[in-house]
Amino acid sequence: MNYRLLKQDINLKPFMTMPPQFNRKTIVMRTDKVYKCEIINIVELTGLEKLFHLKILDPVEREIFSFRPGQFIMLEVPGFGEVPISVSSSSNNREFIELCIRKSGRTTNMLHRAKKGAKVGIRGPFGTSFPMEEMAGNNVLLIAGGLGLAPLRAPLYWVIERRDEYRDVAVLYGTKEPEQMLFTYQYEEWEKVNHVKLLTIVEKADKDWKGRTGLITELFEEINIDPDNTYVIVCGPPVMFKFVCNHLDSLGIPMNRMFVSLERRMHCGMGKCCRCMVGSTFTCVDGPVFDYWSVLNLQEAI
């Protein structure tokens, strides 16, 4: 007489011996295993934002990890929390990734206190990306508000590295105050070396500010947009992209050529925790990159 149930371990063999491959969605894997990274450099950008260079320590894992512009990773600070952060570097850089992080809560505050050499974990990459290949042969317009410039650096690098494949490239960037401008040290290079037209604007000037003052939509008056051959990527707070996209729509840019990146609360990145839902859509799996038509079709997106 035997009634004993045998312990049935899930077959971990296929993935115990190799690091998780988060870009493969359908295999069982150690979903919560992180790639251990070392913070190899920290750049202070503003009072609130720092740029972290993260190097995956294990060479095999580093080899496996690759991402596309627009994707994000889950950054784990063991003991304190895990947060979604867009990758802000070139997808060609296989040595380290750059994350531009604003100090805004429990996990990010801790991270801002971390020193060079500290170790953190990442999972990912997750989510959809910008259709960079589809944009080739066209003008590319990147519009960012505030911290929105961080995720736009990945597509910008992509375009810069393949500059010949794209026509006019422009970046419109607006912040509240001049001191909130990110990556100012790169502007000259973008303009002079990479032939990117860069227009900046602030809502509230200080005494040293010599540039434009006003809302980001005012920058549209200074550029020519060819609605038939332009792809647009917009990143910023919801109010901003609503205004911007409406304007672009009125210029005649097809909605499926405008892309936005949505931000929601996230606890898994894998379509499980439901925290990132917009209507019936997972921001983490079906997004964060959506074309504007999809956004208009999502309940509660804006």
Partner: protein, 352 residues
């Protein structure tokens, strides 16, 4: 599927055999409410007689055996300025006896999300693989409406299912484990008469439902009624207490909490069941809340349950057990809310 028939006394022997060799859970009365009605939960049992297999339904679903309310996803050990992560997916085998069809169908829905969807969960899978499930049919309660969603019958997702034929059970065997275990006791092939009785039993149960909720076309309905005023009406009552999601067999969303132990040597990353009714479900850093109002949050729960998400083929994930309705202090229950919504839209939309 293989079918057999077993006498109730043999069945008892069978269950006691399982109990002896494995950790076993079954329905037990835990309390009596103020009106004298028994309250049942799945609890550990050590003999057949500790269970009450003629019970109505458990207050809370079996979900928490597979998605524990709190579960450690990984641990970190700190050494100097470095750390190591450790993960574990092992659970000990266990048996759960007496699941109702809604419990089993709830698990079948969770399977779609946690095993068949994107990024299958090893935690869930380990628990699912190591749990032996014995289901049982029964006469529905007054307020059960699983039949409206076609979840009153089971198709898969269990090891063994028992239909009550009076002095015997008609067994549906859906796993080799169950088939082998049954070799320990005496079972017979169903006769033509048994089959007739089995069908009669099924029909009888189907006819016994007193509550019906009209769910056809509900997904598109919910899209259209997203701004309906009935949400405010019900939202005003809602306590945002999350009770509904805790007792529900299919609510699965969660939060993550990390904490360092007092020794400062280790830390835990814990998953805990959450609910979209809770105030900060969609709140992000900086304090912006994507669903600031009670009605937004309540509506969202219905939206998820009756519209369904791409993960599970955009089908409703509600199985119609009305556990949420029974547990909700504010009297919010799917039947009334959906009926309200339907009435509302009848007034609004031209009849076609």
């Amino acid at each position: 599927m293989i079918y057999k028939v077993i006498t109730k006394s043999e069945f008892k022997k069978f269950i006691n055999g399982l109990i002896k060799e494995n950790q076993t859970f079954g329905p037990r009365q835990v309390d009596e409410d103020i009106n004298g009605k028994p309250i049942y939960q799945f609890r550990e049992v050590h003999s057949f007689d500790e269970m009450d297999l003629d019970y109505t339904v458990t207050y809370s679903s079996v979900k928490n055996f597979f998605l524990p309310f709190r579960e450690i996803l990984s641990r970190y050990t700190f050494q100097g300025d470095d750390w190591e992560q450790s993960l574990e997916y092992r659970v000990n085998p266990r048996v759960i006896v007496g699941l109702r069809p809604c419990d089993i169908n709830g698990l079948a829905i969770l399977d779609k999300i946690f095993i068949k969807g994107a990024f299958p969960s090893p935690y869930y899978l380990a628990r699912r693989n190591n749990t032996f499930l014995i289901g049982m049919d029964h006469e529905p309660l007054e307020d059960c409406f699983c039949e409206s969603l076609n979840h009153h019958v089971v198709r898969h997702g269990f090891n063994l299912f028992c239909s009550d034929l009076g002095d015997r059970y008609y067994l549906s065997i859906d796993s080799s484990k169950a088939f082998n275990f049954l070799k320990n006791v005496e079972t017979t092939e169903p006769t033509k008469k048994d089959n007739e009785k089995f069908i009669a039993r099924k029909n009888f149960i189907e006819r016994s439902f007193k509550t019906r909720v009209e769910v056809t076309g509900l997904p598109s309905f919910l899209d259209i009624e997203f701004k309906s005023p009935i949400w405010k009406k019900w939202g005003d009552k809602c306590l945002n207490c999350g009770t509904c999601a805790m007792v529900c067999p299919t609510c699965y969303c969660y939060g993550i909490e990390e904490s360092i132990d007092v020794s400062l040597k280790t830390s835990r990353k814990e998953r805990f069941q959450y609910s979209c009714n809770i105030v900060d479900f969609a709140e992000v850093a900086g304090g912006h809340n994507f669903r600031p109002l009670r009605e937004d949050r309540l509506k969202y729960r219905f939206y998820h349950h009756y519209r369904g998400f791409a993960e599970n083929a955009e089908e409703p994930i509600c199985v119609g057990c009305n556990r949420c309705g029974r547990a909700c202090l504010a009297g919010i229950n799917p039947r009334d809310v959906i009926n309200d919504l339907r009435l509302e839209s009848k007034d609004e939309l031209p009849a076609t």
